[in-house]
C-alpha cells in the first residue's frame, strides 16, 4: 500500500517544489529596481515637511521590520523596542560628538551596542512568556529612558543636541531631501535582509519557536540561542533606526521620543500591518506614520484611538492587513488544490481524526 502511495506521489512530486529562489534572478534585483523607482520621490514632494514625514516613514519601516522579527516571527512579546532605538540613537550621538566618529563609524558601532543591549533584553525570555515577558521588557525599557533622562552628559531631560549630519561622498546630508537618500536605501536594505533571514534556516527556526518551542527543541533547535538571535537581530534594526533619528536634521534627540507612547505607536504599525508579515509591517509603518502626522493636533486623543485600533485589530483581524492578503493569495490556492485532488488523493489524505 505504501508502495502505491509512493508511486502515486512521486509522479506528482515536481508540482510542490519550493516557490522561492527558483529561476536565475538574484533576489536583490527587485530591491535595486525598487530603489531606482524611489529615487525621484523627493522631487515630487513640494515641501520640506512632507519630505521629513517620508524620512520618518523610512525609519519607522526599519523599526517595524525589526520588531516583526522578534515579535511576529519568533513570537516573543517585547515592548522594549523603542528603548533599544534610544540606545542606538544615544550611542550614535555620543560616539560622533564625544569621540568624533563619522556617521559611518558611529552607526555600525551604535548598532553593535544596541545588539548587545538586545541580547540583555532577550535574557528574560528564557523564563518568561507573553504578558510576563512584556512586563519585564517594559521595565527594562523604562529604566533606559529614566537613566537617560537623569544623566547630565546625555543631556538629561533637555535632550541631546549638536549631532553632526552624515556625509556621503563629501556631501553633508543635512536637509530632509538629502537625508532621504540615506534613509530610503537603508530601509530597503533592511527589508532585503529581513526577507533573506526569514526564508533561511534561521527564519524557520524563529517561526518554530513561535509555533511550539518544545517541538522545536525536540527537532534540534537550540531554543535559547534562537531567542537571543531574534532579540539581537531586531535590536540591530532598532540601533540602525535610532542612529538615523539622531543624525537627521536638526541633530537633536530627546528621551521623550522613546516613551511607551512611541512603543504603542510602533506596536500598532506591526499589529495593524500584520504580525509576522514583513510587507504588512511596511504598510502599517506607512499608514500609522501618516495618521500619526495628520492627527498631531489631537495628541491627547491619539493614544486612545491607537489603543482602540490595536484592540479592534486583534479582535477582528488578528493577522492584520498582511493576514488578509495571505488569506486571499495562499488559502485560495490551497483550497483549489484540495478540491481538485479530492477525488484522487491517497487514502490517508481523505482521513480525519
Amino acid at each position: 500500500m505504501t508502495a502505491d502511495i509512493v508511486k502515486n506521489t512521486e509522479q506528482r512530486a515536481g508540482g510542490g517544489a519550493s516557490p522561492s529562489r527558483r529561476g536565475s534572478v538574484h533576489p536583490i534585483v527587485p530591491w535595486i529596481v525598487a530603489w531606482a523607482c524611489l529615487l525621484p520621490l523627493p522631487f515630487l514632494l513640494t515641501n520640506a515637511y512632507t519630505q521629513y514625514v517620508v524620512n520618518v516613514i523610512c525609519i519607522n519601516v526599519i523599526l517595524a521590520v525589526g520588531l516583526n522579527i522578534v515579535k511576529g516571527f519568533a513570537g516573543q512579546v517585547t515592548v522594549g523596542h523603542m528603548a533599544l532605538a534610544a540606545i542606538g540613537a544615544y550611542s550614535s550621538a555620543v560616539l560622533s560628538t564625544k569621540l568624533g566618529l563619522p556617521f559611518w563609524g558611529a552607526m555600525p558601532a551604535a548598532m553593535l551596542v544596541t545588539g548587545l543591549a538586545g541580547a540583555i533584553v532577550g535574557v528574560p525570555s528564557f523564563r518568561l512568556e507573553g504578558a510576563y515577558l512584556a512586563l519585564a521588557t517594559l521595565g527594562l525599557a523604562e529604566a533606559v529612558r529614566i537613566i537617560i533622562s537623569g544623566t547630565d552628559w546625555l543631556g538629561a531631560s533637555l535632550g541631546y543636541a549638536g549631532i553632526p549630519p552624515p556625509y556621503l561622498a563629501g556631501i553633508a546630508l543635512d536637509d530632509y531631501r538629502s537625508y532621504y537618500y540615506l534613509a530610503m536605501p537603508l530601509a530597503l536594505l533592511g527589508l532585503y535582509f529581513a526577507f533573506s533571514i526569514l526564508s533561511s534556516d534561521i527564519g524557520r527556526a524563529l517561526k518554530a519557536l513561535r509555533e511550539d518551542p518544545l517541538a522545536a527543541a525536540a527537532s534540534g533547535v537550540n531554543v535559547r540561542k534562537y531567542k537571543v538571535t531574534a532579540f539581537v537581530l531586531s535590536a540591530l534594526y532598532a540601533g540602525c533606526a535610532g542612529s538615523l533619528q539622531a543624525h537627521m536634521a536638526p541633530g537633536f534627540i530627546h528621551p521623550n521620543s522613546y516613551t511607551i507612547t512611541e512603543m504603542i505607536t510602533l506596536l500598532l504599525m506591526v499589529v495593524f500591518g500584520g504580525i509576522g508579515h514583513i510587507w504588512g509591517g511596511v504598510i502599517g509603518a506607512i499608514a500609522v506614520t501618516l495618521i500619526d502626522d495628520l492627527t498631531r493636533d489631537y495628541l491627547q486623543y491619539r493614544m486612545v484611538m491607537f489603543g482602540a485600533v490595536i484592540v479592534l485589530t486583534v479582535m477582528f483581524m488578528p493577522s492584520g492587513i498582511g493576514g488578509l492578503i495571505d488569506d486571499v493569495l495562499v488559502r485560495r490556492r490551497f483550497k483549489a488544490i484540495r478540491r481538485r485532488r479530492a477525488g484522487v488523493a491517497s487514502v490517508v489524505a481523505a482521513d480525519d481524526v
Binding site: T9, G16, I197, D201, A208, V223
Partner: protein, 266 residues
C-alpha cells in the same frame, strides 16, 4: 545496545510517573511500549528526549554516550527523533517547512550567509528542499508541500509528524501513539510507512501504542509499564500471556474496544 536506560525515575510532586525503569533497546529493533493510561509511557519518552530532566540516580546512554542530562536539542542532534502524542506540528508553517525544521541540525550555512542571502545559502537551501521533497514523496504528502500544515486533515498531520521526525535522519525514532485516531485502513498505511522507513534508513524504533494489533504485528519485543514501573518485557506472544499485564489492564478502565477484545482472547 543503542539505548541503555538504568534506574530511570521521574516524580511530579507526590506522583511517581516513572519509577526505576531499566530499558535496553538493540540497534535495529522495533520495540513496543504498552501500558494503561497514565502509566508513564509518554513521560518515558519525554525523559529520553530531554523534554524532562530525570530524577537523580538515573542514567541514559545512547549510542555508547551518556545523554542523561543533555538538553532536548542536544539529544535531537545526536540522533534521537520523536513524535508527540498530540502531534505538536508547526501548524502555522508550511508542510515542507515542518520537515525543514526537522532537518535543522543538518543544514549548514552561517548566519552571515543567511542574512545577505549568499549563493552558498541558496545552494544549500535548494539541496535540502529537494531532499525534503523526496521524503515528502515517500510519506505521500508531496502535493501538499507548501500548504499550511494546520490546514491538513488529521491523518495527514499524523504522517507529517512522522515525516518531521524522519527529516532529522535519526538513529532512534520514538513514536508516541502514532496511529491514534486513525481508521483501520490508515493504521495499516502508517505502519507500512514506518516499516518502510525503518528498512530504508536502518532505524531503531520505539512505539508507544494502545492499538494492540500494531504492537503485535510490528514489534519484536514489548515492554509493559504500569504505575510508572516496568512490569513485564518479552516477545509479543509472551506478553499476551503474562498474568501481570492482564491484571494491569483489567485493573484500569480500559482505553478502547481493542484492549477488551485482546483480553477476551487471552
Amino acid at each position: 545496545m543503542l539505548l541503555e536506560i538504568k534506574n530511570l525515575t521521574k516524580r511530579f510532586g507526590g506522583l511517581t510517573a516513572v519509577s526505576k525503569v531499566d530499558l535496553s533497546v538493540r540497534q535495529g529493533e522495533v520495540r513496543g511500549i504498552i501500558g494503561p493510561n497514565g502509566s508513564g509511557k509518554s513521560t518515558l519518552f519525554n525523559l529520553i528526549s530531554g523534554v524532562y530532566r530525570p530524577d537523580p540516580g538515573a542514567s541514559i546512554a545512547f549510542d555508547g554516550k551518556d545523554i542523561t542530562n543533555l538538553e532536548a536539542h542536544e539529544i535531537a542532534r545526536r540522533g534521537v527523533a520523536r513524535t508527540f502524542q498530540l502531534l505538536r506540528i508547526f501548524s502555522g508553517m508550511s508542510v515542507i517547512e515542518n520537515l525543514l525544521i526537522g532537518h535543522h541540525g543538518h543544514i549548514r550555512y552561517g548566519a552571515a550567509s543567511a542574512v545577505v542571502g549568499s549563493r552558498r545559502a541558496w545552494a544549500e537551501e535548494r539541496r535540502v528542499r529537494q531532499e525534503m521533497m523526496e521524503l515528502l514523496s515517500f510519506i505521500g504528502l508531496a502535493d501538499y508541500a507548501d500548504m499550511p500544515a494546520g490546514e491538513m486533515s488529521g491523518g495527514q498531520q499524523r504522517l507529517l509528524a512522522l515525516g518531521r521526525a524522519m527529516a532529522a535522519r535519526p538513529k532512534l525514532l520514538l513514536l508516541d501513539e502514532p496511529a491514534a485516531g486513525l481508521s483501520p485502513i490508515n493504521v495499516d498505511v502508517l505502519l507500512d510507512t514506518v516499516l518502510a522507513l525503518k528498512n530504508r534508513f536502518g532505524l531503531t524504533v520505539i512505539i508507544i501504542e494502545h492499538i494492540l494489533k500494531v504492537v503485535m504485528e510490528t514489534c519484536e519485543a514489548v515492554s509493559v509499564l504500569d504505575h510508572g514501573e516496568k512490569i513485564a518485557e518479552g516477545s509479543p506472544a509472551q506478553i499476551r500471556d503474562d498474568r501481570l499485564v492482564i491484571e494491569a489492564y483489567l485493573g484500569k478502565e480500559m482505553k478502547d474496544e481493542e484492549v477488551r477484545a485482546f483480553l477476551r482472547s487471552a
